[in-house]
Symmetry: C2
Subunit: 347 residues, 2 copies
């Protein structure tokens, strides 16, 4: 096969790649009409009966297991809304993604596709899902992913307006759009239940979540604080309600933010929600660090930090933080927790 | 992470895992109503505008590249209808799938999700896709995958009726159902175009296709006979129209069939179509071998040979055939082609 840029760096020796689905249950449909459909090339039409048992709510996970992991806890990579685990693989411009970087750094890695997305499948509506899905346009993404100003997108790549110093690999934006999948609103409960099932299966782990996946990571750390050893939330698009009744020590959290949030009303709101959650965490004595890239002099990062041209440099920052803080906080949490570290930035 | 049965056998050293999407183009929608939707946990509703540019027709591919491949041509694994590349990963009962077996055997491997399925995404209907999709029930699959007689399925696993000697790991049928995804009828042209684009990107390769993917593999070998070095069609559910005008030598083909086809009218028809294609292949001097498992004394295989309890034994047969026949047929094809080997079985 032709080589690609994605092959840079040391090789990785695996004892296995295994995939599985967690959660999911059977729903029975009845009373729907039977259709006649041609399903195979050159075959005659045959009846297709939608009545019967349908699997729903399951989540796909792919586990990469090293022969010699250098860290005790595997990393779970949780993508954001309208995406799949592909987000963590090769970047749109063909460089190694964070999946490969975590493997090279000596972590076992589990990549999942959230319920209803990618290889997790999705269910018939309105019979099983209540509503129709949402399809993201390239136009909207240009704005929401903070590549450029609202209305800065044009079908013709030469006519697009991007923010100065933009770190996203702009010539590959259309290639990136190939990763996007439809999504539903209002599926937080089934999605979170599947993440809970994944953590129950894996045991002690680190969760790295992006965007919507960052909010789910914070929620998972509240629901299973003894299993989640650390949370890295990359540009989380929200935070769960803070559970004030938790008695188990909470794992350390790191939140990472890109550029141009201050000029984007929707992102300002998301940031404020997450910031409030971080303050509540710190009030309990838990570690909640913030890596605000522009405040550190790193400019131009989009919402998709792990695909941006400086994705390797950001990975090194995150990996360094994990090296120091992703220890077993349930048996020795006092050392890390006594530092009541303030966030480095307001939104 | 807890170990699984899927970790049996030698480790695999990779120089990279890279993923990419081939094919795909932008379609612009206009004139649709704007909706108000809540998209993130705890966030306010915001407008969702479906008008604008949508990506459609792309196909997801994941390439596993060995540090030291032992074979010159990578293996492309193409799943069947209503499935994704997950079919080739861990079996539903937790054993290593053919992806891992091909890597252990020294082949680079590319797994893809067909257009509209899994990580390839799907498009809004009726605006981009003409019709609504088909959702497979567990009831229908029990029959069409030949696990047991029609109407042999029941929601209660203890009440199901299976064929004698069934090789499918029956206690994991519901787990297998978690792999299934919706599919559309009538998408042969866009699917085939994406497979063409994949082969153009990869270059000389072996294609292993299952069910609907087996038919696409035969079609790809007609469309790019100099690049496709060998075709393995596992229980193909059809065959393309035979291209009588082809002047390039055709690659060798192997077709593999499981049990109980003779008692299933739909599978009898599919088998007859494929058998006619194989006869036409042989009439041109090309190799077209048939491995009919029950005729060789191997009984009870379902439609999903690569997940059945004897999947490793069938893999060894296929790998052995490839070892002998997946040579560069465009430069030295006379040796293999002069044997006008008859199929070992009629349907």
């Amino acid at each position: 096969m032709p080589a690609t840029d994605a092959l840079a760096g040391p090789s990785v020796t695996l004892r296995g790649i295994d995939s599985f689905h967690v959660a999911g249950s059977v729903r029975t449909l009845a009373g729907l009409p039977v259709e006649q459909r041609v399903l195979a090339q050159g075959a005659a039409a045959r009846p297709v009966d939608p009545n019967g048992d349908h699997m729903t709510g399951q989540m796909y996970c792919q586990a990469y297991r090293l022969v010699q992991p250098r860290h005790p806890f595997p990393v779970l990579l949780w993508h954001g809304g309208g995406m799949t685990g592909t987000n963590w693989e090769t970047t749109p411009d063909g460089r190694p993604g964070w999946l490969w970087r975590f493997l090279q750094a000596g972590y076992d890695v589990v990549v999942s596709d959230a319920v209803e997305r990618g290889r997790s499948s999705w269910s018939k509506y309105p019979e099983i899902y209540a509503s129709e899905p949402i399809f993201r346009t390239l136009d909207e993404a240009w704005d929401m992913f903070r590549l450029g100003p609202a209305k800065g997108y044009a079908t013709d790549a030469a006519a697009r307006t991007a923010f100065p110093e933009q770190q996203f690999p702009l010539p590959y934006f259309d290639q990136f759009a190939k990763q996007w999948v439809p999504r539903w609103a209002g599926h937080e409960a089934i999605t979170s239940a599947a993440y809970d099932a994944l953590i129950e299966r894996i045991g002690p782990c680190i969760v790295v979540g992006h965007s919507q996946g960052g909010g789910f990571a914070m929620l998972a750390a509240q629901r299973q604080p003894a299993r989640v050893q650390a949370v890295v939330a990359l540009e989380p698009s929200g935070a769960p309600a803070f559970d004030t009744g938790l008695t188990t020590p909470r794992p350390p959290h790191l939140t990472v933010w890109g550029d141009t949030i201050r000029s984007h009303p929707v992102w300002q709101r998301y940031h404020a929600t997450v910031d409030a959650f971080g303050s509540a965490l710190r009030a309990t004595g838990a570690r909640s660090d913030v890596l605000d890239l522009p405040l550190e002099g790193i400019h131009g990062n989009s919402h998709f930090l792990m695909m941006d041209r400086n994705s390797d440099a950001i990975f090194e920052r995150v990996a360094g933080w994990l090296e120091h803080h992703a220890t077993d906080h349930t048996t020795d949490h006092t050392t890390d927790r006594t530092t009541d570290q303030a966030p480095t930035s307001p939104p």
